[in-house]
Each structure stands twice: as structure tokens, then as C-alpha cells.
């Protein structure tokens, strides 16, 4: 049990996919202009992560046991279809969100955080439940990072930012400050 709690906290904060391991940065910078969009994209990502974790576990345990060289391709196919499902669901039930997310929704397919999760899960030999908790931690970690940056960006909207740092410049500075703040968790649980 404490092992599961540790996997969750470790992926949520200590090894946060976005702010510590720098995975999935495109949507981190692309869709964080507003909090509402940001956390919903985070949840969409979480959903895809969970499907990926479950499928990766099934693939690893039952299907690809003798053909490890097929793993990467199999993961990519699984992720792409999971994203398709999410895209269809969002288009049908949340059309406004679908328009806000735009290209970034199908781009979850190429989000390195998701392939990263499948590969980490394989190399760390997580069991089914551990993989699920790992995916939840990673997903909530992404959502946390996206919402934090979005809340900072909403505040930046009203600031008198110098011309040289307008738009993406200051967003990169804000992201690096966030990453600096997450450095405090480094090495946690190592002793």
C-alpha cells in the first residue's frame, strides 16, 4: 500500500512529468492561456494515460512477451486509437472544449509524456495496479503543471510586461521558475 502511495506522490511531484522530466512540453506551452482549457486538457491527457497504462500492461504481459521489439510500434498504435476515442467523445459531448483545444487534442497522440509513460512502465516492470496508479499520478501531475502555468499566465495578462518578454518569452521564464520550485522535491524518498 505505501508502495502505491509512493508511486503516486513520486510521479505527481518528485518526478513530475512536465516540470521535472520535461515531457509533454508542447501542450504545456500551447494550451495554458486559460485555466478552464488547461485543466480539461490535463484530464483528457489523464484519460489517455490510463488507457495507455492498461493496454501497455496487457501488451507486455500477454501479447508481446516474445516480441519485445514490437513494443514501441504497438504502444504508438494503442495511444493513437485512445486519442481517437477521446477526440470523438469530446467532439460529441463538449463541442466548445473541442474548438478551444483545436490541434492540441489530436496532438496528444504525439505527446511524449504518454509514450514515455508506457516505456517507463515497461522498464520498471510495474504490476497492473501499480501501472494504474502510475498513470493517475502522471496524469494529475500534468494537470497540476498545466493549471499552475495557466493561473500564472492569466495573471500575466494584466501585467505591464516589457516588449522584449511579451508572449512566449515570459511564459518560458514562468515555466522555468515553476520548475525551480519543483526542484525542492528532488531526492525525496531516496533515504
Amino acid at each position: 500500500m505505501s508502495n502505491l502511495a509512493w508511486i503516486f506522490v513520486s510521479t505527481l511531484l518528485v518526478n513530475n512529468f512536465t516540470l521535472v522530466m520535461f515531457l509533454g512540453l508542447c501542450s504545456f506551452f500551447g494550451v495554458t492561456a486559460k485555466i478552464e482549457t488547461a485543466w480539461r486538457l490535463g484530464l483528457a491527457n489523464t484519460f489517455v494515460l490510463i488507457i495507455t497504462a492498461v493496454s501497455a500492461w496487457i501488451l507486455n504481459t500477454y501479447i508481446l512477451t516474445h516480441t519485445p521489439y514490437l513494443r514501441t510500434i504497438a504502444f504508438i498504435v494503442v495511444i493513437a486509437s485512445a486519442v481517437q476515442i477521446v477526440e470523438m467523445g469530446v467532439k460529441k459531448y463538449l463541442p466548445v472544449l473541442f474548438r478551444q483545444l483545436g490541434i492540441y487534442l489530436p496532438l496528444i497522440t504525439t505527446n511524449c509524456a504518454i509514450l514515455g509513460l508506457a516505456l517507463f512502465q515497461t522498464s520498471r516492470h510495474y504490476t497492473f495496479v501499480e501501472g494504474l496508479v502510475f498513470a493517475l499520478g502522471a496524469g494529475f501531475g500534468l494537470t497540476l503543471a498545466l493549471s499552475l502555468l495557466a493561473s500564472i499566465r492569466e495573471r500575466m495578462e494584466v501585467a505591464d510586461v516589457p516588449v522584449i518578454a511579451r508572449r512566449m518569452g515570459l511564459v518560458l521564464v514562468a515555466a522555468s521558475c515553476l520548475s525551480l520550485a519543483f526542484m525542492g522535491f528532488a531526492g525525496m524518498g531516496s533515504q
Partner: protein, 331 residues
């Protein structure tokens, strides 16, 4: 002879004398005893360190800021606070670099004073910690004569500083890596190893009480931080006696300086009083978590930076109710 009995003006009608420069210079004045305490324990190296930080801060502010920006004293505070978080023997070129980073990337690119999300001094400190992890954790022991130069203050830029000082670990480092305690009385007075402003807890507390009495800092933030740290560490100490006790926790490390001078930064802490409680409790929890379970001995800086990042959230979540908006069902 017009003796007007009725003067009609727009609000506000009651004005106080306070202004941004006035508050800032009061904070600077309240930091002077802390600087003197640092000079008492670490000699002239402490003064060199702090002077370098202040000069670098003011110069950077002058070069990058709008006209007259240095007059408000905020750059001086950033320099003072950053200088106080450094070890006495830290090479001066690194101090200057870190302070310039703090002013430019902690404040100016955000649009200047009042618009930054993160505390500038802490951004500079976190940058230095990431860039020079060895130099910033080489703490000279206090004492050794007033004019003794600690460490390698005048290292040539971009070279490795020479380790030529009598160093001692901080109380938190001693506890975490060697399992040794430090007497509380030494912590309170400040005769322990550590960064310049880490040691004299009582002097910092006195400065904080003065500022709170003048109304220049909101007492809720330091009180909630210190109370949370005390309560949590007392519980943890009760469960596992090898963990530090409550008094050790609040008097060691940068907690006092952080709680009184950094977390209370008006720009980067929440606006509402309820938000300030949330902010302080959050910092307290993070400090205990990082100190007790983290890989680093000290976590005040990261705890405050993390809660700074959450501040826009806290502000959103703790907006007071607007009067007259509750719907009353009319039957």
C-alpha cells in the same frame, strides 16, 4: 474669505502616510539588525557579501528598470534578502550574477515591482542553488576574527572557488546527514554554521514584530507558517523520536527569515486574509515534508516558491462573497 464647511471630493477620504517607498525603506531599516548580527558572527565577509548583493541589485534595477525605479527601495530589499541567504564564503561574482538574475528574471521581465509572481530574491537563490550547488552549500563556521575572510570570496569568475575555509555543516545538514542535534540555545542566538541570515533567529523575529506592529506585514503569514511547522514537527517527533522536535525546526535553517521577510512579500502572497492562512499553512506543510522526507536538508525556499506559484489560484478560490448576491427564494 471662503470658509467652506462642505468639501466634496471623491473617495478615499481617509488617507494614511504610507507609500510603497516608505514601506520598503522601513523593511530595509528592520533588516539592518539582521545584517549587523551576520557581521557579528561572520565578520567582514558577511558585509562584503551583502554589500555586493545590494550593489548588484540596485545597478541591475537602474539598468533595466523604468526611471526612478531604484528610489522605491525594492531592489535594495531583494539584494539584502538574497545576500542574507548566502554562505559567508560564497564567491562574490556568483553573488552578483545571482542578484542580477533575481532582478531581471524575478522581477523586471514580469513588468517590474508589483507584477511578479515569484519572490525575486528566492528566484535568484534557487538559480544559484541549481547553478553552483557545491559553493552554495559550503558554510564557513562562525567566528575566526572580524577581518578574517571566509572561503574564496574573490574567486575569478568562471573558475572553481578554492576550498580554503574552516567549514561546518548547518544544524539541519548535521541532523539529516550525520544524525547529530544542535542545542536550541545556540540556534536561538545564532552561533551555528549556516547562511548569513539563517542564524540569528531572535533578531529576525524582532524585526518581524516591528513590521507587524507598523502594519507593514500581515502577521497571519508568519504566524501560520511557524504554527504549522511547530504542530506538524511535534506530531512527527512524537511518533518517531529521531525526527527533529518543534523548537529545533522553527529556529533552524532559513525558516525565520523566510517566514518573516520572504513569504510576507506583498506582491507574491495572496490578497485575502483567508488566502494568507492557506498560503502560510501550505508553506509550513511543505517545509516539514521537504526537511523530514526530502533529499535536501532545507526546503523553505522551495516551499515559498511553490506557494507563490499557487497564489493566483488561492486568490481565485478565496474571493470574499459579494454582498447582495445570494439568491433568496421568494415564496
Amino acid at each position: 474669505m471662503s470658509t467652506e464647511k462642505l468639501v466634496v471630493t471623491a473617495s478615499p477620504h481617509i488617507r494614511s502616510q504610507d507609500s510603497v517607498p516608505r514601506i520598503m525603506w522601513h523593511v530595509v531599516a528592520s533588516l539592518v539588525p539582521v545584517v549587523l548580527a551576520a557581521a557579528w558572527f561572520f565578520g567582514v565577509s558577511a558585509l562584503l557579501q551583502i554589500a555586493t548583493a545590494v550593489i548588484a541589485a540596485v545597478l541591475t534595477e537602474r539598468l533595466t528598470g523604468k526611471g526612478g525605479a531604484i528610489a522605491d527601495g525594492s531592489a535594495t530589499i531583494t539584494g539584502l534578502l538574497l545576500g542574507l541567504t548566502l554562505p559567508a564564503g560564497f564567491p562574490l561574482w556568483m553573488t552578483a550574477l545571482g542578484t542580477a538574475f533575481a532582478i531581471i528574471f524575478g522581477k523586471q521581465v514580469w513588468g517590474g515591482l508589483g507584477q511578479n509572481v515569484f519572490n525575486p530574491a528566492l528566484v535568484g537563490r534557487a538559480f544559484l542553488q541549481a547553478a553552483f550547488p557545491v559553493a552554495i552549500t559550503t558554510w564557513p563556521s562562525p567566528g575566526g576574527g572580524f577581518f578574517a575572510l571566509h572561503g574564496d570570496l574573490f574567486a575569478i569568475p568562471l573558475t572553481h572557488p578554492l576550498p580554503n575555509a574552516v567549514t561546518s555543516a548547518t544544524p539541519l545538514g548535521l541532523l539529516k546527514f550525520e544524525g547529530k542535534g544542535t542545542a536550541i540555545s545556540n540556534l536561538v542566538i545564532g552561533s551555528t554554521g549556516g547562511s548569513l541570515g539563517e542564524t540569528a533567529a531572535l533578531v529576525i523575529l524582532a524585526g518581524g514584530v516591528y513590521l507587524a506592529w507598523r502594519g507593514y506585514l500581515n502577521w497571519r503569514v508568519p504566524v501560520s507558517i511557524l504554527a504549522t511547522v511547530m504542530a506538524l514537527s511535534a506530531i512527527i517527533h512524537f511518533i518517531d523520536a529521531t525526527k527533529p522536535g518543534a523548537l529545533f525546526m522553527i529556529f533552524s535553517g532559513g525558516l525565520m527569515l523566510g517566514a518573516v521577510y520572504m513569504a510576507t512579500d506583498m506582491v507574491t502572497s495572496p490578497i485575502t486574509n483567508l488566502g494568507k492562512w492557506v498560503f502560510g499553512v501550505g508553506i509550513g506543510i511543505l517545509v516539514v515534508v521537504i526537511r523530514v522526507w526530502g533529499g535536501l536538508p532545507e526546503g523553505v525556499m522551495y516551499a515559498i516558491l511553490f506557494m507563490n506559484a499557487l497564489t493566483p489560484f488561492i486568490n481565485r478560490a478565496t474571493q470574499p462573497r459579494v454582498f447582495g448576491t445570494r439568491l433568496v427564494s421568494v415564496t
